[in-house]
């Protein structure tokens, strides 16, 4: 990063030029081992999606350029619209709930309380555990007739509690519930890191001005956390749109198609059925949606900063 060696020379001599070239080579040599693997297995596939999406290509045939035909097919594909809708609903539930839960936890746990470390660990733990185990346990907990959750709800006076993962209306909320429970600890850590950057003097000053806890939260914490909140929202958006593991293990997209999400459709079309072309078209759609939502978030962020 420093230019100590070169900055002193006003015009590059042959020697410095040689040294610079050698430095560049050494620099590249550091990056190269990772870059080769990364290029072959990430960059090329990313670019590949943009090409394969415009071809008719099955696992048994050779690729044939067909222009926008895959996208026309997508427009008439019920599965695509269902998956898109479900993905959006999932995001609409998962993003605000996780945001609120993780922010709330972080603010409450950002205090000098005895054993606060243990509490943080407890909230963080679900994120670390294997998703499969977690999904299995939640499936059992949410079991409609005998599951502990519905036992509790009945006890609280809800005589016909939801059918959760066995009901087409409640399967998506069940997934959202589980995912919020699992993810909030992770984003809590990000918020806790963000809270460290809010200057303590601001709290002191607000206190002097007679601001209560709520006023301090709205006028000091929230503005101070703006970069973190933005970052977390973007991360949550990306992770919501690519949700797969949880859905695959808990509901496999069912019952019916009530929890079919875009990444499952991509998986089914592309890998189960070997329809590479169409699957890549759906991938491209997912990519464009995530990009559009993220760019929109950047726009809103920039406008609100002005």
């Amino acid at each position: 990063m420093t230019t100590v060696t070169t900055r002193t020379a006003p015009a590059p001599t042959a020697a410095t030029r040689r040294r610079r070239r050698r430095n560049a080579l050494v620099g590249w040599s550091f990056v190269l081992p990772n870059l080769l693997g990364f290029a072959a297995l990430t960059l090329v596939p990313v670019a590949g999606t943009f090409v394969v999406a415009f071809t008719d290509w099955d696992s048994y045939s050779s690729p044939k350029w067909i222009g926008l035909a895959n996208f026309r097919r997508m427009r008439h594909d019920d599965n695509f619209w269902t998956a898109l809708q479900n993905t959006c609903w999932y995001a609409a539930g998962h993003i605000p709930l996780t945001l609120a839960a993780s922010l709330g936890l972080a603010v409450l746990l950002n205090q000098k309380l005895r054993g606060v470390g243990i509490l943080r660990t407890a909230f963080f733990f679900p994120y670390v555990t294997s998703l499969v185990a977690v999904a299995i346990v939640w499936n059992m907990l949410l079991s409609p007739d005998i599951g502990p959750v519905n036992q509790l709800l009945r006890h609280l006076g809800w005589s016909h509690p939801p059918g959760w993962t066995t009901s087409t209306d409640w399967s998506l909320p069940a997934l959202i519930l589980t995912s919020v429970w699992r993810d909030m600890g992770y984003y809590m850590v990000l918020f806790l890191a963000g809270l460290q950057t809010v200057p303590a003097e601001l709290y002191e000053a607000a206190r002097m001005d007679g601001a209560g806890p709520w006023a301090r939260f709205w006028h000091v914490t929230m503005p101070g956390l703006r970069p973190t909140t933005f970052f977390v929202t973007v991360m949550l958006t990306i992770s919501s749109f690519k949700v797969f593991d949880l859905v695959q293990v808990m509901t496999e997209g069912g019952p019916g198609r009530s929890t079919l999400v875009l990444s499952q459709l991509i998986f089914r079309e592309g890998i189960t059925h070997g329809r590479f072309g169409y699957s890549s078209a759906v991938s491209l759609a997912l990519f464009v949606i995530v990009l559009a939502v993220t760019l929109a978030q950047f726009q809103i962020q920039r406008r609100s900063e002005r």
Partner: protein
């Protein structure tokens, strides 16, 4: 919400409320203490509620199947069936699954840390044309959902004949952008004067990386290693797509298929879940602060 030592006064420049009388101050302090006690109680209860699924999992794993779902729930089992933990090894090749998970996680973690920290040195401490554009490419793919390029990646693996081998998973996860990003963030905080001094002492760039930067970045290396290990151990989709042979399966895939086959053996399913979580629990508790630091590092933009 910040707690500062009471009684610290500071000259006021802005109009402030009238100074409170002594009685109100002490009343406010009692209210404050009561508020904190309530908050404390609330947080403890919430933490218990959050961890309850794990408690239920652990308790269910030593019950008989018929006792797992009873109304009301038996928080203390009527009888303990420790056999669940021995029988499951006979019903499914759990040792093979655990071995596969361990092998994949270890190899991928090693490669990710090695190539990631090496590349990060190039990005953080060296200057070469195209560096910043290239790094942007790395960052951008972190934001691209894997699903968006999973199929072309699969086709490449298929053409290379690596589908249904461990190589497929090792290759797609060992050269991740994440490791490069995390390590670069950390290297940027190491002052350049240190490497400059080493350079003057005649150390090559590779020597600086190996003998100065790596030892200095132990906490960051630990963070990356732990995050990668846990992610690989817990990964479901990768092995689900690439591994079809039962003897290559990881514990996640094995466990998921076990439910498919024996969905009424609740207690044993819970025993399997416990076994799949325990290694992660141990690693997590040992390296907790590195986890948190790693996550926090990636959340701070640089």
């Amino acid at each position: 919400m910040n707690t500062t030592a009471p009684g610290r006064e500071r000259p006021r420049t802005t109009p402030a409320p009238a100074p409170p009388a002594a009685a109100t101050v002490s009343r406010r302090r009692t209210a404050h203490a009561a508020g904190r006690a309530l908050l404390y109680l609330f947080l403890v209860l919430l933490a218990v509620a959050i961890l309850l699924p794990f408690v239920w999992m652990a308790i269910s794993s030593v019950k008989a199947d018929r006792d797992v779902f009873t109304v009301p729930i038996q928080w203390v089992p009527k009888s303990y069936r420790w056999r669940n933990f021995t029988d499951i090894w006979k019903q499914i090749p759990l040792a093979t699954y655990l071995g596969n998970s361990l092998l994949l996680s270890a190899v991928i973690t090693f490669l990710q840390v090695l190539t990631g920290s090496f590349a990060a040195y190039g990005f953080a401490k060296m200057r070469f044309p195209g560096r910043d554009a290239l790094f942007l490419g790395y960052i951008a793919t972190i934001a691209v959902p894997w699903q968006a390029y999973m199929v072309p990646q699969y086709i490449i693996m298929d053409k290379l004949g690596l589908v249904n081998t461990r190589w497929s998973l090792i290759l797609i996860q060992a050269f991740g952008a994440f490791g490069v990003f995390l390590m670069r963030q950390f290297y940027l905080t190491i002052p350049d004067e240190i490497s400059e001094a080493a350079r003057l002492d005649g150390l090559s760039e590779y020597g600086i990386w190996a003998r100065i930067i790596l030892p200095l970045s132990k906490p960051a290396l630990a963070s990356l290693a732990l995050l990668t290990f846990v992610n690989t151990w817990n990964d479901y989709m990768g092995p689900f797509i690439y591994l079809t042979d039962n003897d290559l399966w990881t514990v996640q895939i094995g466990l998921r298929s076990f439910i498919g086959q024996y969905d009424a053996q609740y207690a044993m399913i819970m025993a399997g879940s416990v076994i799949s979580v325990v290694p992660i629990l141990v690693i997590f508790l040992l390296g907790q602060r590195y986890f948190v630091r790693g996550i926090a590092t990636t959340g701070i933009k640089g």
